[in-house]
Every structure is written in C-alpha cells, then in structure tokens.
C-alpha cells in the first residue's frame, strides 16, 4: 500500500508540489489559507461555539497536532507511524504528573496514591513548571531519536517499521496499566485543579487553553510547511520514493528519516500535553493501539501527502465521531472503520486528492485500463491551484 503509486497517488504527489508552476498563485492561495484558518480558529469559532463545543474543538486540535506530525513522517517521509500513542502518552503523562503535583493537597501527594507506597523519584523531576515543559519535548524527542536511529540504521522499513511502532505503543500501554502504585494504573491520572496557576474550572481559562491549542497547531503547520519546501523536504520525499537511490547518491537516508520521525514524535507529545488540561484525564486507554490507529485515520482520510489534509481530515474525523455518536450510539466505530477501508482502497491519496483524481479521470478515461501499481507514463498536469488548498473549506 505504501510503495505502490496508483494513478491517484501519483496525481496527489504531483499537486503536493505546486511550486513548480504558477508560484504566485500557489503562494497567494497558501497565504489565504493561513488567513482563513486564523479567522476561523481565533474569530469565528470562539464567537459562535458554546463552551462545551469549544472544549471539544480544543480536544480535536490536540489530536490534529499528532496528525500534523504523522503527515510529515508518513505523508512526506513514507514512515507508517502506527504507534504515535507512545509519544502522545509520554507528553500527556509528563504534563499530568506536573498538574497533579501542583494540584495536590497539603500532603503534596497525588490523589490516586491511596494505597500507601512512596512517590517514585521520577515524579519529582516534573514538579517545577520549567522541567515539566522541557520534559514534554525532550523525553519523547530523545526516545524517538534513539528508536529512530536503531531502527532506520538497520534499514527497517515498510510494514516491519509499522508493526514495530505499533508494538511500542502497545507495550507502553501495558507498562502503564501494570504501574498502579506509581502512575495510576488503568485509572490513569485525573483530578487536575489548575494549569500553571490558572483554575481549570473557570470558563475563561478554558478559552485560554483553546487559544493556546489553536496557536500551537497553526505553528506546527507552519513548521511542516517550511520543512516541506526546504531542501530537507525534497530530500525526505526523495528518500520516501527511492531510498536506495538516495543512499547511492551519498545521502545519510537514516538521518533524514530520523529527523522527520523526531519532529512527529515531539508534535504528538505536545498534543498529548495540551490534551491533558483540556480533557482532564489521561489513561492507558488513550495511548495504546486503538488510539494510535485513530490518529492515523484522519490523516489517511484527509490526504497524507498534502499540507492541510492531515489537519482537516483529523478534525473532520474527530468531529464526525463525536456528533455521530450522539445520534447513533456505538454506530460510529463501524462508520470509522468503513471510511478508512474505503479511502485506503479507492482513494489512497485521501479526500485531499479527490479533485486531482477526478480531473485525471476526466482527461484520461483510459486510466482505468492501466495495470495497477504502474505509474502513468505522463501524469496529467494539475491546475496551478493546489488541491489541498481547495479542501480548506471542509
């Protein structure tokens, strides 16, 4: 699924690099998209949504942060990161430990520790706000660096890498469940009263959290944008499409992949860290295999190789999941699975590539007759406006 370039994928890859032609149209459209995103997130949404819906949106934005990272690692770098729950969880648990310590009563003990036993030493590391914030970035970043180096240096890739990353998330969840006395076990950590001194039950502060999440998400998209258009971004895509050739040309392809993997991990960790004060609980159920796949679904649906596809796809899937489950209880699980299969089977570039696919069908009705897996000899020219921008209103 990852290596085969279907006509749809080829078209999607083509539109993801709009710089080649009509640079000004592309740039203007890009600017317009940022402006629309800022207006929607900072103006329209807080003005129109109730406190509850805004809280939900803030939660979705945190999940979308993970999606932005996956978009870079999987979409641009071809690494199917099926275990982002690991990094999401690390960021979340570090934030949760800090919030729990700062919310604890006079005894200074976290609320879950009712059965005796002393506070493990590593809790103390995150008591100060500075070390907690540093830890949220540094711990998952370093772990991703070590994992990435050991995996990519050994040239583990494709399905093997995917299984490995998924196993790491599963192992992490099991580890957390077994640590009842040190990290809350299957109950996880909850009952946070304050966020760096701000009361969490105050609606005004909850809005502040939303604005922070929105700002961070836009920053992440901007970072990925810059990475994609830099020389590094081209190299990453080159490694995705022909790792052997890139290595043959003298590039350290493992390092190229490690960088994207670390960025994705740090984004997931920051998403996790903001998720905690917004939702009010983190438990092993949020970091295991199922949520890790959940992070991926939005990226696949939105279009992994596009800049805005992962964000929009993730937001759309989260929103649909939340509202649909209010209408039909327990029905959403089936819809989500079906949607994922549908997109992977018929629209590998995601919904972000739908325009390009439709166009290529119209121009070359014979495209269907081409054998699958063989790139079209002359891929159709996409319109100058990138498809990912057009999906901005979704």
């Amino acid at each position: 699924m990852i290596g085969s370039a279907t006509p749809a994928e080829a078209a999607a890859a083509e539109v993801s690099a709009p710089r080649a032609r009509g640079p000004w149209t592309g740039r203007a459209a890009m600017l317009a998209t940022y402006a629309v995103a800022a207006i929607v997130l900072f103006g329209a949404a807080p003005a129109m949504l109730t406190d509850f819906r805004l809280r939900m949106l803030a939660q979705f934005l945190c999940v979308a942060m993970v999606a932005v990272g996956i978009g870079l690692a999987w979409g641009s770098g071809g690494m199917l990161t099926l275990g982002q729950g690991l990094f999401f969880g690390l960021g979340a648990y570090i934030m949760a430990m800090h919030l729990q310590l700062s919310s604890a009563g006079p005894s200074g003990r976290p609320a879950f520790m009712v059965t005796g036993s002393d506070l493990p030493w590593w809790w103390e590391l995150f008591r100060s706000p500075a070390t907690a914030l540093l830890g949220i970035v540094a711990v998952p970043g370093l772990l991703a660096l070590l994992l990435g180096l050991s995996v990519f240096r050994r040239r583990v890739k494709g399905a093997y890498f995917a299984i490995l990353s998924q196993a790491s998330a599963a192992a992490f969840a099991l580890l957390l469940i077994s640590q009842q006395n040190t990290i809350g076990g299957s109950n996880g950590l909850s009952s946070f009263r304050q966020f760096f001194g701000f009361a969490l039950n105050d609606p005004v502060n909850r809005r502040m959290l939303y604005f922070i999440a929105a700002g961070v998400l836009i920053a992440m998209v901007a970072v990925v944008h810059q990475l994609r258009r830099s020389r590094y971004g081209e190299l990453l895509t080159a490694v995705r499409d022909g790792e052997e050739r890139a290595r043959f040309l003298g590039y350290d392809t493992a390092m190229v992949k490690v960088v994207a993997y670390v960025v994705a991990a740090v984004f997931a960790a920051i998403g996790g860290a903001l998720f905690v004060p917004i939702v009010g609980i983190i438990s092993p159920q949020n970091v295991g295999v199922v949520p890790s796949i959940g992070f991926l679904v939005g990226v696949a649906v939105g279009g992994r190789a596009t800049l805005f596809g992962p964000v929009l796809g993730s937001l759309a899937v989260s929103y649909a999941g939340s509202t649909l489950s209010e209408q039909i209880e327990s029905g959403w699980v089936y819809v989500q699975g079906f949607l994922f299969i549908l997109v992977v089977a018929f629209l590998p570039g995601g919904l972000g590539s739908i325009a390009a696919v439709v166009r290529s069908r119209r121009r070359r009705p014979a495209a269907d007759e081409l054998p699958r897996g063989v790139p079209e000899p002359d891929a159709p020219d996409p319109e100058p406006t990138p498809a990912d921008v057009r999906s901005g209103g979704a």
Binding site: Y34, A38, V204, M208, S330
Partner: protein, 423 residues
Amino acid sequence: MTALRRPVTVTFALAALLAASACGAKVDENGDSTADVESCIDTSGDSVKIGLLNSMSGTMSISEQTVRRSLELAAAEINADGGVLGKRLELVTEDGASEPTVFAEKATKLLQSDCVAAVFGGWTSSSRKAMLPVFEDNDGLLFYPVQYEGLEASENIFYTGATTNQQIIPALDYLRTELGAQSLYLVGSDYVFPRTANAIITAYAEEYDIEIVGEDYEPLGSVEGIPTIVNRVQSSGADAVFNTLNGDSNVSFFSQYSNVGLTAETMPVLSVSIAEEEVPGIGVERLVGQYTAWNYYQTVQSPENEAFVAAFQEAYGSDAVTSDPMEAAYTSLYLWRNMVEAAGSFEVDDVQEAAGGISFAAPEGPVTVNGDNHHIAKTALIGRVNPEGLIDTVWSSAGPIEPDPCLEGYAWAASLERDETYC
C-alpha cells in the same frame, strides 16, 4: 518568503494577545477557585431531561448494556406512574465507549448542552474518576451504580453500589466466623479496586490474626499469569481464596482451578466481581458451590424483587438475568425521584439538601441515603452459586449496613492511606 512569514507572525501575535487577554481566575492559596457555574436545567415544559451514560461499545459494553436496560426500565415505570413532580422523564442517552475521556466528554455535553437534571451511569473506577471533576465543576449530579473501592465521597455523586464496608468487610467476617478461615490467598486484577481491597484485607487480617499466605495480581484483560497463580494458590494450602479478579481473567482462573483438582470443598473461593451475568461465561459447573459477596441476587425473596425480575424479563426476554449493578442502577433512578419529590425541585442544591434519609423499598431490600457521604445503607449478602447458575443467599448482615467509605468506624483501618480531599 517574507510575504509568507508576515501573516504567520501576525497570527501568532494575535494568538498570544488573545491567550493573554483570556486569562481568568487564578487559584488561591487553598486551592479553590472563584469560578461559579449556573445550572441550566429546563423545567418549563411537561418533561425533564435526564442523562444515561453507559458504554454501549468497547470492552465494558457487555456489562454496561445491562445497566442501561434496567435504567430504561425504571424510567419507563416512573413515566407510567406519572413522572417526577408531574413531569415526564426524557432520556438523553450517550455512549461512554469504555473510555474515560469519552465519559468526561459526554458528561460535559449532558450537563452543558442538554442541561440534564441528573446523569446515571459509569462502571469502571476510571470512568468515575474521569467524570468526577466534570460534575464538581459544572455542579451536576451523577448516580454511580457499581460497588467500588471507597475512599471517595463527592457532593456531586451518589454512590448506589456498595462501598468496602458493605461488601469486602462482611465477606471477611463471613470467611472468619462462618467458614473459620485462618489463612487467605489474595488474587486480583491489577488496578485500583483490587489493590485497595487487598490493602483493607491485609489490615483486617492483622487485627484478627489471619495469615495472608499470598497476594498475586494479573494485569486487566490478561490471562498469561493465571496458571502460575493457580499453582501457587494450590501449594499455599490456604483455607480460602479472596478473588478480586475482573473480566476474562476469571474464566481462565476457574478453568485452571478445577483442572488442578481444586473445588469449593477443598479450597473455597470468595469472589466480589462475579455476578449472575458472568456465571455462564465462566461455566456453571466450575463455579458451583463457590462464594460471592454482593448486596443483591436475582434469587432474593421479596415482593419488590419478584416485581423487578418479572418486569425485566418481560421487557428483555425470559432468560434475562438480573444482577447487583443492574439493581443498583434501577434503584438509583427511584432514589433520585424520591429526592426530587422530597425537595420539590429539580435544582441540584435542593436535591443534595433533601437527599439525607431518603429511602426506597428496593429489590435488594430497604435502602436509605446517607446525607453526609452520599452512599446508601444496604444489606450485605453472601451467596453460593447453584447448579442453575443463579446465586443463593447463604448469609446476610443483620440489617442494612451504614456506608462508611472512609472506614472511619474501624480502628484497625486507621493505618490505611486516605485521600484527604474526601476523607
């Protein structure tokens, strides 16, 4: 490039400005904040909304669906009986999806968007822990129907299942006085309920000179360690086993238990998480004669229970069984009705104030709400699994036991750690 960077910079400046201007109350020295919430319960029409929040998907759905059914049954009965304060109950149902974060999300939605008068549901301790801050911050009411590890007493939660002194301690009394157990082996799933229960059991054992010959935990949902545990149980020669395993682990435990030749006669097992619902899944033949500790069994002899079981089987089929959490959920809705009618109001503050002393002739027997800790006084029942897969009562406490979630009335429990927020 500069053209691109500028709007991005502007966006960040805007974000920083908004975030800074959006700062609200700081936490004062006591850890309390000054934020207020206003209830939005709508009582203007001829109906009033209540929320049912149970897992209809995920691993807990098999248990929580039965709770949902008994809540729906109670609501239908109350509506047929003229509603609450003359208003029909309108059910807003949500799926907790066996995930604590979803419970927190849906609880917020029920309180803020649907403005329900009360919410009924939750099963796992993690789901309750996730919902607790939501109900406290939004000043809502949650009725939680499952026995749990105690050491908690939120003003915004009514606990209609047993706390430890209504289940664990009577079970220990039974093992000590009726079965004459001098040594116990503790087997449990690795999460907060078994850990807390076993801490209580250990303190009790010290007081009464009972030897704890072993204590083993199996991760939730896992079965790999069970054969080893059963071998250790067998070689320990304990007088009885206190079992706090939950879910699938029980299937493996009891199948191994009978495979190595242990029976209820050679080494009885007292379980606190196996009810009528679970018996067929584990296998009746493996459980016959083993003990359970609850506050309700389908076989309870009373007119109230006969009516409850008959109504439940009429609605959901003649082979449907009723169990303790289902009965506690059914009872919780009636208790809320009685509280509202006593208060003459749906407002949370009024209901909380009227709650103390409210009683109901429940299928399990008479129950009364304790106004201080929001738990209910209920009778402890020790049961034995019979060949039909139902559970017969073999011992019951002298009457309803007053709830003591913090175990303040037991001198031997003084050494246990407590959460100072509630205890």
